[in-house]
């Protein structure tokens, strides 16, 4: 554990670090996408504006695709470009390129398409309420143990909803493609999380016309949050096709308005939970969950989001009799995709809200109720995976103490009796399985490479990107601390599919957990093999031995077996654990919740770089705060958001006080961190609002408008609730 400054911090501040739009190539032209403006329809006629010279433009349609018109995804159902029928607003119909950016923009704006419009589902609830919209395949986790509800047990049944969320990365999507006919290589540079996914995408669309696609990321990647997991494959494919057809380097950088409207978002969800609780033992005895996600028009990677969602949907509780059903639903909106948390924030919003509801029905304190049911050593998940540590419980206990929960509860109750404005405090707990779900990491078979040259440089080759999260600094630290080599001589190379081995995508909180720990292992091997005291001196004295190359594959724990069909077994080898308390102030005049403070206690194992780790928690907390309070992407009758003007992500002025503590840091494993602090805050905020006002709202965001609507529907509620 060492405080090391991110090596990209300075060049990013002084502007020397290159983001995609900073790259330029000789004879480069500009590309753009023309997309559907109807939600569902058949393309009848396309008319190009007459005042332009068509021969100056390169235009590609679905029919020009030499390879396959299907983006490679876990579920291969999405075309690169629509052919005859469009299934959602924002579906790409053609790619266009021209030497002048301005002319290109004007031209695309004036292209007219006549559609025969067909019925479409755009409303989130219309999509998720109607079971006919389900995509067919479903996931069942069956842990029924024949528990029969007894007289006196409390049945609690509710439906919880969450909405879309926009990743809002600072740098919009962008690609540059260069075709080299002499060796039939398609080179693509882009802002992306997964270079090898993009390689698959480009090779799929180009088919046999190219020998190979080589993908390299830009030097800087201006944020991603999951938004650059799968969309870049589609964008790179079309950009490559434009480069192939025009014979020139083509750059496509999406305008913010286009980026917001056509790229993937977080899946809206509907989660229905039914529980039976024994009031005497305070134990939840039986639990049933129906977990639904709006996948959009195509499934793409949604089955994987669904898998993680259902696996996290029970929350951190031990229940004997459990039945979980997960399904994807179809709508006529752009496919939803990856976003920090990946199905878990939806799951935790539902279960953590539900836990407070049961506690309220039983008239006991939500902390006491959690304590009675929390996963402990020897318990098991519905997948039958055994719990081998009490770290989740430790997180809960610590956060209750740190936040002065009991004292605040009393104080606020007193405050709320006399004043119009209210104060509230809420709890949530959560966890996040590190790495790919189930057998995923085994199939990925990630490989890393380290080379040591004569000059004493240790070069790290991984396909995982630094998108601002500090991964490359942290990875370099994991190597340099093991080799005891100077950090400035430990260099992470720019991911390039020809030069870096396939260490898998930069997703699933796996970069430090899988790749970092693997690099540590490889570094240890190097150290054991070379038997040096000081690597620099050793290189100087043994010049004939260098340059030298080392490689290593990830070997999954053979005892961790998961059955992808029955959903039984070890879904994730290691879990990160967390508990959280939030304090809110409710402004009664304007029906607005203000998040005052959030306490996080996390077990992410060993900490490599404390500052970067804290940064992850802070960033994710703020993202979760927007998710809980202000961000919505769609309003019935008023359509989808078209830009940042009406999409209220929190600004610096809105950021609450954030308290972070990591526990159990003496572990040898660095576990996943990127996503977990996004998973749990939203329900804690919702539970704090209940504590403040006695009103349950089962849908986020908790906008003032939604709060007013809920209050208007309620009979006058008694805020002197029974929680003590």
């Amino acid at each position: 554990m060492k405080q090391v400054r991110k090596f990209d911090a300075r060049p990013k501040l002084d502007g020397s670090w290159k983001f995609l739009d900073d790259y330029s190539y000789k004879d480069m032209i500009y590309g753009g996408l023309f997309y559907s403006t109807v939600h569902h329809g058949i393309i009848r006629k396309i008319t190009f504006p007459v005042e332009f010279n068509l021969t100056e433009f390169t235009i590609v349609f679905a029919k020009d695709i030499p390879g396959k018109n299907i983006v490679p995804e876990p579920e291969c159902d999405q075309p690169f470009m629509a052919d005859k029928e469009v299934f959602h607003f924002g579906q790409v119909i053609m790619g266009v390129a021209h030497p002048s950016k301005e002319i290109l923009k004007k031209f695309i704006k004036q292209i007219k398409v006549e559609y025969e419009e067909l019925p479409a589902i755009v409303d989130v609830k219309e999509c998720l309420e109607n079971e006919k919209n389900a995509f067919g395949k479903e996931i069942i986790i069956d842990h029924r143990r024949n528990v029969k509800p007894e007289k006196g047990w409390i049945r609690t049944h509710s439906v919880y909803y969450t909405t879309h969320q926009e990743q809002a990365y600072l740098e919009p999507q962008g690609m540059i493609a260069i075709y080299k006919p002499e060796d039939r290589i398609m080179f693509v540079r882009g802002t992306m999380q997964c270079p090898f996914f993009v390689k698959d995408g480009v090779e799929a669309i180009m088919g046999n016309t190219i020998k190979e696609a080589i993908i390299e990321t830009s030097e800087g990647i201006g944020g991603a949050f999951g938004g650059k997991e799968d969309f870049p494959s589609l964008l790179a494919g079309i950009t490559a096709l434009l480069a192939y057809k025009s014979g020139k380097p083509v750059k496509v950088v999406l305008d913010r308005a286009d980026d917001i409207q056509i790229t993937t978002k977080r899946h809206p969800s509907r989660v229905e939970i039914e529980t039976y609780t024994n009031p005497k033992t305070r134990k939840i005895r039986k639990l049933k969950i129906d977990y639904r996600l709006d996948a959009g028009a195509y499934q793409t990677l949604s089955p994987v989001v669904l898998a993680r969602g259902v696996l996290h949907s029970i929350g951190g509780y031990a229940v004997e009799d459990v039945y979980i059903r997960g399904r994807l639903f179809r709508s006529n909106t752009p496919s939803n995709g990856a976003f920090r948390g990946f199905g878990a924030p939806q799951a935790f919003f539902a279960i953590e809200s539900h836990i407070d509801k049961i506690a309220s029905h039983m008239k006991i304190n939500p902390y006491e109720f959690r304590k009675a049911n929390i996963l402990k050593f020897g318990d098991e998940f519905p997948t039958t995976q055994k719990i081998t540590e009490n770290h989740l419980y430790d997180c809960l206990e610590r956060v209750i103490v740190k936040s002065d929960y009991h004292k605040k509860l009393k104080e606020f109750s007193k405050f709320n009796k006399t004043l119009k404005d209210k104060k509230g405090i809420g709890i949530s707990i959560g966890y996040h399985g590190g790495g790919y779900t189930g057998s995923g990491e085994k199939l990925l078979n990630s490989e890393v490479k380290i080379t040591i040259d004569k000059e004493g440089f240790v070069n790290i080759f991984v396909a995982n990107v630094d998108m601002g999260q500090g991964a490359h600094t942290t990875l370099a630290q994991m190597v340099n601390e093991t080799l005891e080599h100077p950090l400035e001589k430990t260099i992470v190379q720019l991911p390039n599919t020809k030069k870096t081995p396939n260490s898998g995508p930069t997703v699933a909180s796996r970069t430090i957990y899988i790749i970092g720990n693997l690099l540590r292992k490889l570094s240890k091997k190097i150290k054991d093999e070379l038997k040096f005291e000081n690597l620099e001196r050793f290189i100087k004295e043994n010049q004939d031995k260098f340059p030298k190359e080392y490689r290593m594959h990830f070997t999954p724990d053979p005892s961790a077996v998961f059955d992808d069909k029955t959903y039984q077994g070890v879904a994730y080898k290691d879990y990160s654990w967390a508990a959280c308390v939030t304090e809110i102030y409710y402004h009664a005049d304007i029906y607005q919740i203000e998040l005052k403070k959030i306490w996080n206690v996390l077990d992410i194992g060993n900490i490599v770089n404390p500052k970067i780790a804290e940064g992850q928690v802070e960033g994710a907390n703020i993202q979760a705060m927007g998710y809980a309070l202000s961000e919505f992407f769609y309003k019935k009758g008023y359509g989808r958001i078209q830009g940042f003007t009406d999409y209220a992500i929190p600004t610096t002025f809105d950021i609450p006080e954030i308290d972070i503590e990591f526990i159990h840091t003496d572990s040898t494993t660095a576990k996943g961190l990127g996503e977990i602090p996004m998973d749990y805050p939203a329900p804690a905020i919702r539970n704090a609002f209940y504590n403040a006002t006695g009103i349950f709202i089962d849908e986020i965001p908790l906008t003032p408008e939604r709060i007013l609507k809920t209050m208007n529907k309620l009979p006058q509620t008694n805020t002197d609730d029974t929680q003590t």
């Binding site: 005049d589 304007i590 029906y591 009406d646 600004t651 906008t703 208007n712």
Partner: protein, 278 residues
């Protein structure tokens, strides 16, 4: 679209006499540039005025404060003169857009753009500010309450430009003030509801009250009917259902992507109540 940069105010006013067509003055550009980019403004002439130093700056003259049309919001926030005489005005402007936009956006631009959600206008309304309109041949003063005639419509003639905003030095003296801008976050937000209020209380009677709202009608406006009803009453004499009734006649809140009309109405009622009880 033609871009014009007059060399001085005299030249500008002369141009205005000749140019009878649709035109926009470009000062800070925080709204105008967006409208041009989005194609909302297409065939109008754009007249750049931000370099005309005569139109910028804050000064005093006898009993009045003069604020040049192209004075930035940040300049008003930084002004000692404003701090001395109009602290409520200055304090309230802190919620204007965001620090970045405060540096660029101008007071004249906020008025001329005439958005129903304009942050400055409700304040100028309760301060009884006047707008100085200049043409080549004359200079006239219009109360801000009489300036707007409809959604983004105002009384300016084709040959006129806003040159100053004029506020009485004693405008805030002896008044209790209130300002709340309600948006979806603390900064960089477009108002859902804004209420500006000034009142004088003698004994427990409200002897004078001014209320102005933003985002609740086609343009920010004073609530004259509500004011009339409240004036000269004590708190116990005020029938709040009557206030709500009158308010319903004066505002026309809408539902849009940003908010709901019910929300806007209820918040306005709550804020008025809170201000009266203060």
């Amino acid at each position: 679209m033609k871009f014009v940069k007059p060399k001085d105010v005299e030249n500008l006013l002369k141009n205005l006499e000749e140019d009878k067509g649709k035109k926009y003055f470009l000062a800070g550009g925080t709204d105008l540039n967006v409208q041009i980019k989005n194609g909302i403004i297409r065939d109008a002439n754009i007249i750049y005025i931000n370099h005309l130093t005569e139109l910028s700056g804050i000064s005093e003259e006898n009993n009045i404060i003069l604020i040049g049309a192209t004075t930035s919001i940040m300049d008003i926030l930084d002004s000692d003169l404003i701090k001395r005489h109009l602290p409520y005005f200055q304090r309230s402007l802190e919620s204007f857009a965001s620090p970045l936009l405060q540096n660029t956006a101008t007071i004249g631009g906020n008025i001329a753009n005439g958005s129903p959600t304009a942050d400055v206008i409700p304040l100028l309304l309760v301060l009884n500010a006047k707008v100085e309109l200049s043409s080549k041949s004359q200079c006239r003063l219009v109360y801000i309450k009489d300036f707007f005639t409809g959604y983004k419509q105002n009384v300016m003639k084709s040959n006129e430009i806003i040159t100053h905003i004029i506020i009485d030095k004693n405008a805030e003296k002896d008044f209790l003030t209130f300002y709340e801008k309600v948006g979806s976050r603390r900064t960089l937000t477009i108002s859902k509801v804004t209420l500006a209020g000034m009142k004088k209380v003698s004994g427990n009677r409200i002897s004078q009250i001014r209320l102005a709202v933003g985002s609740l009608s086609e343009f920010p406006r004073r609530l004259f009917k509500v004011e009339d009803y409240i004036t000269d009453k004590t708190l116990t004499e005020i029938d709040f259902s009557k206030v709500e009734n009158l308010l319903g006649k004066e505002i026309t809140p809408i539902t849009d992507l940003r908010s709901d009309k019910e929300y806007r109405y209820h918040v306005c009622v709550n804020l008025i109540r809170t201000f009266l009880n203060q």
